[in-house]
């Protein structure tokens, strides 16, 4: 039984409705949670960068190994060497934040350029860029990264360049799709007919006005992807090495104890990964419904 109610009085106009009124309750929830996660991540990065941590992440305390959460002095307990988990989790963000930003910057910049070339210029560009997209999509990302690791023994930033490059096709396709949508309603042709120069059409009308929402959404999803890749790598032992903490190597370190029934050292970082990636994906979806409206164009 679905209920529809019309409030009496004058009918509001869509343009005057605030963003919140326009969105459905679910979208607000998703976006809210997502923004909370982003805030926590940024805050943790700042704390970690300046070293304002609740405890010394490296301080080994043999007497207090694998302490459960809420033991005195250690809100989130300690790991297998008695180091404070909360501090290590906060510091663990360092491994993702900047590399993640690098990856999404490359994806957004490269994707936008390719997308505009394919959509706006079209013709040969379209064919070449579609080929390039399919080529990049052919590699499982992790396998390609392992190849790069084997070849260059790179640090995290090299890896994030690869993640950035492999993220370009998705964005290029979305932007080309958006341009096709505008072209199909003769918008592009009308802009040229009026005499608008190409750079205005591309930068202002296409990228800024019609694609900014899309780019923000892809940035959040891109960050989630970067974190996923980095945690997998550090789990495999290629990311940040002990004793510097990263969520991936913390989960890995706690593995043996996990199998003996002491879950917490491995679960805490895993939940941190889960909460962050879930937050970013929900934020992406929520923003999409809010800014783009239901139609996915």
């Amino acid at each position: 039984m679905r209920r529809y109610v019309q409030t009496p009085g004058p009918i509001g106009r869509f343009s005057e409705l605030s963003l919140a009124q326009r969105a459905g309750p679910l979208d607000l929830l998703y976006t809210g949670y997502g923004l909370l996660v982003v805030a926590v991540v940024v805050a943790s990065y700042v704390l970690g960068a300046f070293g304002w941590l609740p405890d010394d992440p490296q301080a080994i305390n043999v007497g207090l190994i694998n302490a459960p959460p809420f033991t005195s002095g250690h809100l989130l307990g300690t790991d297998f060497l008695g180091r404070d988990l909360q501090a290590r989790l906060i510091l663990g963000i360092q491994a993702y934040f900047l590399p993640g930003l690098l990856a999404i910057t490359i994806s957004l910049a490269g994707g936008s350029i390719l997308g505009v070339l394919a959509g706006y210029k079209g013709g040969w560009f379209d064919t070449i860029i579609t080929y390039f997209d399919n080529l990049l999509d052919s590699f499982p990302r992790l396998v390609l990264i392992l190849l790069v690791i084997a070849a260059f023994k790179p640090d995290i930033y090299y890896v994030m360049v690869v993640v950035g490059i492999t993220g370009m096709p998705v964005i290029a396709n979305l932007i080309a799709g958006k341009i096709a949508f505008l072209r199909q309603m003769s918008f592009i042709e009308a802009a040229h007919a009026l005499g608008l120069p190409a750079h205005t059409v591309v930068l202002k009308h296409i990228l800024w006005l019609n694609c900014r929402a899309l780019l923000v959404i892809q940035a959040t999803l891109g960050m989630a992807e970067a974190i996923l890749v980095e945690t997998s790598l550090s789990y495999l032992g290629f990311g940040v090495q002990e004793p510097t903490p990263s969520w991936g190597n913390m989960v890995q370190a706690g593995a043996n104890y996990f199998l003996q029934g002491n879950f917490w050292p491995s679960t805490a970082p895993a939940l941190a990964i889960l909460a962050t990636i879930l937050g970013l994906q929900l934020l992406g979806d929520g923003l999409n419904n809010l800014l783009e409206g239901k139609r996915r164009k």
Partner: protein, 339 residues
């Protein structure tokens, strides 16, 4: 008599249909002559109607004349200057004097911009007016297209069909054009709104001295607004002359078929000779007829009532004697052996 503002001679435009990567490499392209040698001229403050079925090339002419697509050959002279080969940069200042109203109501209306910003951008494309002046100009434009001031803060998605068309026209008027190519300006609108837009376009022509190339398949409207009408068939003009002659004394059989297809005979007395369109072969996504291999000789022969009545005369399908436009009295031209 008013000056000639636009003169088009032997305009040709071919579309090549590329199909995917492989065929591009192997060069299999199907070339379709959308516009196959068209010549006409437009006199200032006059309206020429361009009619024909979908796929006859009338829309392509509209876009080619404004150099929105580049012609394959032929000459386009606007206001005495040959713009056929002009570069984008050279063309830009001229661009303001010749504008286009698109069939799609949303053309030119960025879904993310409010009406005020759309008009402001149009006003600042070619000039740099001060803010006060812009507000004044916007009010003036609203009056010209009789649009309420309250609409300025709306997004295009909140406007009705009629309002979208008015904003579209205001956006074009902002650059003070002299020639407007109107491509099916009324076909996407309801009847009552169509009438408003037709009246509006005629008022603008009177007040601003505009010249229209009025492209439409809505024959009564074309008859009403145009002094001269050109009838197009498969990329060629088959008949051109004063609107009333075209409607009431058509010399080309196709013009007769076109006007007779007007379901009710309110407007014209031409006896209704509906041809049995047995040859309605569909050419995939290109007009109604098999375009690549146009019948040799006169292209209309397969559907032509005269051709059947006169016992399929050879001259009609003789490739050497494709009928050319010839004058049949005070400027009325027709391309038919038996006109």
């Amino acid at each position: 008599m008013s000056r000639t503002i636009l003169e088009v001679t032997d305009l040709r435009k071919d579309y090549s249909q590329r199909r995917g990567l492989i065929s591009m490499l192997t060069g299999q392209e199907r070339v379709i002559p959308a516009v196959d040698g068209v010549s006409f001229y437009l006199r200032e403050n006059e309206t020429v109607g361009l009619v024909g079925e979908s796929g006859c090339g009338k829309t392509t002419i509209g876009r080619t004349v404004l150099r929105l697509t580049d012609p394959s050959s032929g000459r386009i002279v606007f206001d005495g200057r040959d713009i056929t080969k002009m570069s984008r940069a050279e063309l830009r200042p001229l661009r303001r004097e010749m504008q286009m109203i698109f069939q799609d109501l949303d053309a030119g209306l960025n879904p993310r911009m409010r009406v005020r910003d759309i008009l402001r951008e149009a006003l600042t494309v070619h000039e740099r007016p001060r803010d006060a002046e812009i507000a004044g100009r916007i009010r003036e434009l609203l009056e010209q297209v009789s649009l309420k001031e309250s609409k300025l803060t709306n997004f295009p998605s909140e406007l009705s069909g009629g309002e979208k068309r008015r904003v579209g026209i205001a956006r074009v008027l902002a650059v003070r054009p002299r020639l407007i190519v109107a491509d099916e300006p009324t076909s996407a609108l309801d009847i009552s709104i169509q009438a408003q837009v037709v009246n509006l376009l005629r008022d603008l022509q009177k007040n601003l001295g505009l010249t229209y190339l009025f492209i439409s398949h809505d024959l009564p409207v074309v008859e009403l607004v145009s002094q001269k009408v050109a009838v197009m068939y498969l990329g060629r003009i088959v008949e051109m002359g004063l609107a009333e002659n075209i409607a009431h004394q058509p010399r080309h059989p196709y013009t007769g078929v076109l006007w007779s297809s007007l379901a009710d005979k309110q407007t014209t007395e031409v006896t209704r000779r509906v041809t049995n369109v047995a040859v309605e072969r569909e050419r995939r996504n290109w007009g109604v007829f098999d375009f690549e291999q146009p019948a040799s000789g006169c292209r209309f022969a397969p559907r032509c009532p005269l051709y059947k009545d006169k016992g399929r005369p050879a001259i009609c399908t003789d490739p050497a004697s494709e009928p050319q436009l010839r004058d049949v009295g005070h400027g009325h031209v027709v391309a038919c052996h038996f006109a």
